[in-house]
């Protein structure tokens, strides 16, 4: 054997080697690194959310699993499974009790007694919800991208099916993306005991049958890359829903002039609702991997509810793998035209009336923080903690003995979410 490990006599690289290196380099890059992306075939986002409202109201545990598979060339399948377990009480819409109040459950089988000074709750509330959503997106020709989605959710008294489709196109060297979408929804409302007669005396608990509603919507969205570090997004939405919009468990108290509760009626809402909203977001990349995001949403519906949501979020990268994301959100809304905390005995009963606090005027700040850490393999563990507080605005004062009470059932809630994102 002739062993010559130190044959490096040529001082300059010969022409032949240069030529081979060049062609070899071109060859090595020809197939790209695209095949490496196949290594993690499935991206799984899993999270458990724990939600708890103050004063023994709703409490929920919600595990979510979001699975994404890239079939290559941007053909992406998404599947999402959600399970909700809710317990606790939800305000019935009735005013604060000044003496013991008894509420009959929708099934007619149980009664809830409310202590004086407390908001009446439908406290036998217990439900489970399952939801499955699927989505598919892919390029269409050279310029377009299409996205299709469908969803189904079911709980004891409510079933919903949704479908949506969107088309997007890039302009200005991919710096502007315009997205056009349509969506449809069909809901089946099947309350325990049946649908209550609108504005009937809740004490009689007259219920029968079930109801449905359907909705259609459209969306126009713009995403614009303003500079290397600045992204602007704007969305315009319009949707309308027709059919049964009333909450079959909510009542309105009828209060006499001295403040005693004379009785209660099942609420009644219009069977049409149209909503339009605009959303703008600015996201700026700062030093390292930090990012600041500011967004604002204005929503208006034809029930008279106008809402504003403003949010500021700061993504602070502690190191390559760890981040902290504090955020603060402000929400406020005006009341629906037919919202009223109570009805006065002797006065005419309007066609539409609801004392549901979600239709009243209120403001609600949220403060929260999210902490995340990515491990060597790119899997991310995150924990998010939010505090939410809802306070009524311009709430009508009750007559007589109700005068000292705040009739709006304000609420405080905490949310804790633990998430784990990994590849398979």
């Amino acid at each position: 054997m002739q062993l010559n490990p130190n044959a490096g006599v040529a001082t300059a690289t010969p022409h032949l080697r240069k030529s081979l290196m060049l062609a070899g380099c071109a060859l090595l890059m020809a197939a790209g690194a695209a095949h490496a992306e196949d290594t993690k075939d499935w991206q799984v986002d899993s999270a458990v959310l724990y939600y708890k409202e103050s004063a023994g109201r709703v409490q929920a545990i919600e595990p979510v699993i979001n699975v994404k598979h890239d079939f290559g060339d941007e053909h992406i399948l998404g599947l999402k499974f959600t399970y909700d377990s809710l317990t606790g009480g939800s305000p019935t819409g009735g005013v604060v009790a000044t003496s013991s109040q008894t509420t009959v459950s929708p099934s007619g089988k149980s009664y809830t007694t409310v202590k004086p000074g407390d908001i009446p709750l439908d406290s036998n509330f217990k439900d489970q919800r399952f939801a499955l959503d699927g989505s598919w997106s892919q390029p269409l020709g050279n310029d377009f991208k299409v996205a299709l989605g469908t969803g189904f959710s079911h709980e004891r008294d409510f079933t919903a099916a949704t479908a949506n489709a969107g088309l997007s196109k890039d302009f200005l060297q991919h710096n502007l993306t315009v997205n056009l979408g349509v969506s449809g929804e069909y809901d089946r409302i099947n309350p325990v005991g049946g649908i209550p007669g609108a504005l009937t005396n809740a004490a009689f608990n007259l219920r029968s049958g079930n109801e449905s509603r359907n909705g259609v919507g459209g969306q126009l969205g713009f995403t614009m890359v303003m500079s290397r570090n600045w992204l602007l997004r704007a969305n315009f939405n319009y949707d309308r829903s027709s059919g049964y919009q009333t909450d079959p468990y909510k009542i309105v108290s009828v209060v006499s002039s001295n403040g005693t509760v004379a009785g209660s009626l099942y609420e009644s809402r219009p069977d049409q609702r149209a909503r339009k909203s605009v959303y703008v977001e600015s996201r700026v990349g700062l030093r390292n991997d930090d990012a600041l995001s500011i967004s604002y949403r204005r929503m208006q519906d034809d029930w008279g509810i106008h809402s504003d949501t403003a949010e500021v979020k700061y993504h602070y990268a502690i190191d390559d793998r760890t981040y902290v994301e504090p955020h603060i959100r402000w929400y406020q809304q005006t009341a629906a035209d037919f919202y009223s905390v109570m009805l006065h005995s002797g006065a005419a009963v309007p066609t539409y009336v609801s004392a549901d606090s979600r239709l009243g005027a209120f403001s609600a700040p949220t403060v929260g923080i999210k902490v995340g850490r990515t491990d060597e393999d790119g899997n991310e563990l995150s924990v998010r903690l939010d505090y939410y507080q809802q306070t009524g605005k311009n709430v009508e004062k009750g007559p007589g003995i109700l005068a000292p009470y705040d009739l709006y059932p304000g609420m405080k809630a905490v949310m804790l979410q633990v998430g784990w994102r990994f590849g398979l």
Partner: protein
């Protein structure tokens, strides 16, 4: 003794001395291993699986033996132009460059000559007419290469044997090192490439020298990154009037190249470069060593 720690989809991970893990699999009719300087079997499996998937992908595309391969489709195209993808175009461009730089000695169309030659150590020398008949089907210049189109005349055949495995080694290393800073060495049946130096010291490669005594097995050290490849096979030869004819064929005459080494091992910047230079050297016959010295590479002849 090494114990298999994890097995997944044809990739087996073993612990190796020096704080290394090896991911083993087989591809291209060779035992393959990917050495990763890590104490994590999971990381070794991930890195090794990336390399394995790339090896299998390339094998599936460019094997002559798989009827579904891109190469088989080109060989069965009967002279009709076929549109190639970017990777195949680049492979053909590399083959063309080799053909030009070797003055026509390195030729990916010369594989058809093997129909006449069986290098089984016998005296089975083919008839001259049979060889010259096959010679009409050899010649890279007879291909019509108009990227991305290629026409392979009827009867001619492409065989990427001289560059395919070496290319796969470099690709596998490139993909294996994505997403890890751990030093990695990819070894497909003796053709190898590495990136980075392990904490325990430079990569030590044991190379068996077929035909030589076991004690002559070399232990090579590889620098921080580069490739090593061997061309030639001491077991494949024919005997003619007491002369030994090696299996490297001259595409111009259709006869074995004479007077050269039986096997050439070269260390260069990449496995592909090393393999190409080793094959060039074998084609030079008696001029092999002079050629290698001129290239300024480390080499070992047998």
């Amino acid at each position: 003794m090494s114990a298999a720690t994890r097995v997944e989809e044809g990739v087996r991970v073993e612990r190796r001395p020096g704080g290394l893990h090896a991911a083993c699999f087989s591809a291209m009719a060779s035992p393959c291993e990917v050495l990763v300087d890590t104490t994590s079997a999971e990381l070794a499996l991930e890195v090794g699986s990336r390399a394995a998937r790339e090896a299998w992908r390339i094998e599936q595309r460019y094997s002559r033996y798989q009827p579904e391969s891109v190469l088989s489709a080109l060989n069965a195209s009967n002279g009709k132009p076929v549109e190639m993808d970017a990777e195949t175009t680049a492979l053909l461009e590399y083959a063309r460059r080799c053909h030009v730089e070797s003055d026509g000695w390195f030729d990916v169309t010369s594989g058809v000559l093997r129909r006449a030659w069986r290098f089984d150590g016998s005296h089975n020398i083919p008839a001259a007419e049979r060889v010259s008949k096959l010679l009409s089907l050899v010649g890279f210049q007879k291909l019509i290469l108009d990227p991305p189109f290629l026409s392979v005349p009827t009867g001619m055949e492409l065989d990427l044997g001289g560059i395919g495995k070496e290319y796969a080694v470099d690709r596998a290393l490139m993909l294996a090192t994505i997403g890890t800073t751990a030093p990695v060495l990819v070894n497909f049946g003796g053709d190898l490439a590495c990136h980075g130096v392990p904490q325990s010291g430079p990569w030590q490669i044991g190379v068996e020298r077929p035909g030589a005594h076991a004690s002559a097995a070399m232990v090579l050290e590889l620098a921080s990154s580069g490739g090593l490849a061997t061309s030639g096979d001491t077991h494949r030869y024919l005997l003619q009037e007491g002369r030994r004819l090696g299996h490297i064929l001259n595409p111009r005459t259709g006869w074995p190249v004479e007077g050269g080494p039986a096997s050439v091992t070269v260390a260069a910047g990449s496995c592909l470069e090393a393999g190409t230079l080793a094959t060039f050297a074998l084609l030079k016959g008696a001029g092999a060593e002079a050629f290698l010295r001129e290239q300024g590479v480390r080499y070992w002849l047998l």
